[in-house]
């Protein structure tokens, strides 16, 4: 698709900024409707929301433990996965959980680990360990995407974002590795 060179293209009533104006608007919307009406259009019952939030915190904390197990077993991948682990810690915190420095959680022990096969021991080969982590991230992202339909708007938005981050992690742990 042809487009006019920037020098002569900046006037005209139909011309809109591709990013700046619109992004500003989105930012405003994000802020203005953020608090006061936090529960948005679909309000699940508070107890369901609280359950989902607590579960999300536990799940992220459990995921951090899996990262720690992989890092412990395969120090060579530590550099690569550390930044992803740090993001998962922030996810746990965003859901109200806490993660100790070693990865031990202050909340209850993760009753549901992100994937069925998971105990906190890492597979033997690096490649398998990363593939396992990726599968755990993806499975958790799927579960969160399913769960977000039942909760109030603001929590749903956070779940959607964290699920997206999980999918990104899964991508980086597999595709990005090649």
């Amino acid at each position: 698709m042809p487009y006019p060179p920037p020098s002569r293209a900046l006037s005209g009533p139909r011309r809109r900024s591709l990013l700046a104006g619109a992004a500003g608007a989105a930012l405003l919307a994000g802020c203005s409707s953020g608090s006061g009406e936090s529960d948005g259009s679909t309000s699940g019952s508070p107890s369901i929301a609280e359950k989902v939030r607590a579960r999300a915190a536990r799940d992220s904390a459990g995921l951090v433990e899996r990262y720690d197990a992989v890092i412990a077993a395969h120090p060579a991948v530590a550099e690569r996965v550390r930044s992803l682990r740090a993001e998962v810690v922030r996810h746990a915190e965003a859901f109200g959980g806490t993660v100790g420095k070693s990865g031990a959680t202050a909340s209850e022990s993760p009753s549901a680990s992100p994937s069925p096969s998971a105990s906190a021991t890492a597979p033997v080969t690096e490649k398998d360990a990363l593939a396992d982590l990726a599968a755990a991230e993806r499975a958790l992202a799927d579960r969160r995407t399913a769960a977000l339909v039942d909760v109030p708007g603001e929590l749903a938005r956070l779940l959607a974002s964290v699920a997206a981050a999980g999918a990104v992690h899964a991508y980086l742990l597999t595709e990005g590795a090649r």
Binding site: A22, S41, A165
Partner: protein, 156 residues
């Protein structure tokens, strides 16, 4: 909050998302013209994905009794895009922007529309990282973006 107010919020969020998808479709047109051949297929499939989302949003808006916002005739690019590297940066920004509007759609809608918006957010986030190589902790949440991002290091 009243049914009416939430319906209006829903429509507003969907219109914002549609406007962003219009911009993304335009932007990927630019990307496609500049990006190196090795990544052209990827740009093409992103372009197609945004067109499909754009059409789905327009349908949703009509279903709610709204009139879908039209695309602009042209859009000012955020920076000059003379070469493939700039095209990749533009693509990453387009995806970030789209992720941001979908997170608002998730908040403002429910049911199937919300689920679909969450999917769209997820896809945009993955495409963003394919272009940029940079993972962010909270895709689509501008208010959490300032607190630092981790960078992963894909070899691609």
């Amino acid at each position: 909050m009243s049914e009416k107010a939430s319906g209006k919020q829903e429509l507003t969020a969907l219109q914002e998302a549609l406007a962003a998808e219009h911009a993304a479709v335009y932007g990927y047109g630019v990307v496609g013209g500049r990006i190196r051949e090795g990544r052209r297929t990827e740009a093409r499939s992103a372009y197609d994905a945004h067109r499909a989302r754009r059409d789905a949003l327009a349908r949703d808006i009509r279903d709610l009794g709204g009139t879908p916002v039209a695309a602009a005739a042209a859009y000012a690019l955020p920076f000059p895009v003379p070469d493939s590297a700039a095209a990749v940066r533009l693509a990453a920004q387009l995806e970030d922007r789209v992720a941001g509007v979908y997170s608002d759609v998730v908040r403002a809608t429910g049911g199937e529309r919300r689920r679909s918006a969450a999917e769209a957010l997820r896809e945009a986030a993955v495409r963003a990282v394919r272009w940029s190589g940079e993972s962010v902790a909270f895709p689509g949440l501008a208010e959490r973006a300032a607190t630092g991002s981790a960078s992963a290091t894909p070899t691609a």
